[in-house]
Symmetry: C2
Subunit: 79 residues, 2 copies
């Protein structure tokens, strides 16, 4: 996984989750330092529909496996 | 919400999420300092079945609304 590519992709996540991984709205989780395996599963579950959320189901749909791995690596890397 | 009651209840969460909110297994999320609203929604969704996870669907089922509020307050309070 590529943290720099994850950071670039995270521009679309920042309104809610921040570029620092600290959520900007109360209903979104903080992601900084979150376990990478957990983040990968969350994004895959939103993409597949196994997990449902109005916003996340929309934004996860077009993500590739590489996008998901890179985003998880980026948010995991933050402290 | 009562942080002390949440801490007492969290004894059943600690094997995976830790009493410090730092996950002890890779597939579990860290919870320390997590947004309280997010934690409440997660527990309610596991309890209702809106969100599915082998472990969490089981352990969330018997939680009362007070239990959920107290657990969320406890994990949110950790840094």
């Amino acid at each position: 996984a590529d943290v720099a590519k994850g950071r670039a992709k995270a521009v679309q996540c920042q309104a809610c989750h921040g570029m620092d991984g600290v959520a900007k709205i109360p209903e979104a989780p903080n992601l900084a330092g979150q376990n990478e395996d957990y983040l990968i599963k969350a994004l895959k579950d939103f993409k597949s529909g196994a997990r449902q959320n109005d916003m996340m189901s929309l934004v996860a749909k077009p993500l590739s496996d590489d996008d998901i791995a890179n985003l998880a690596a980026f948010y995991h890397s933050l402290r």
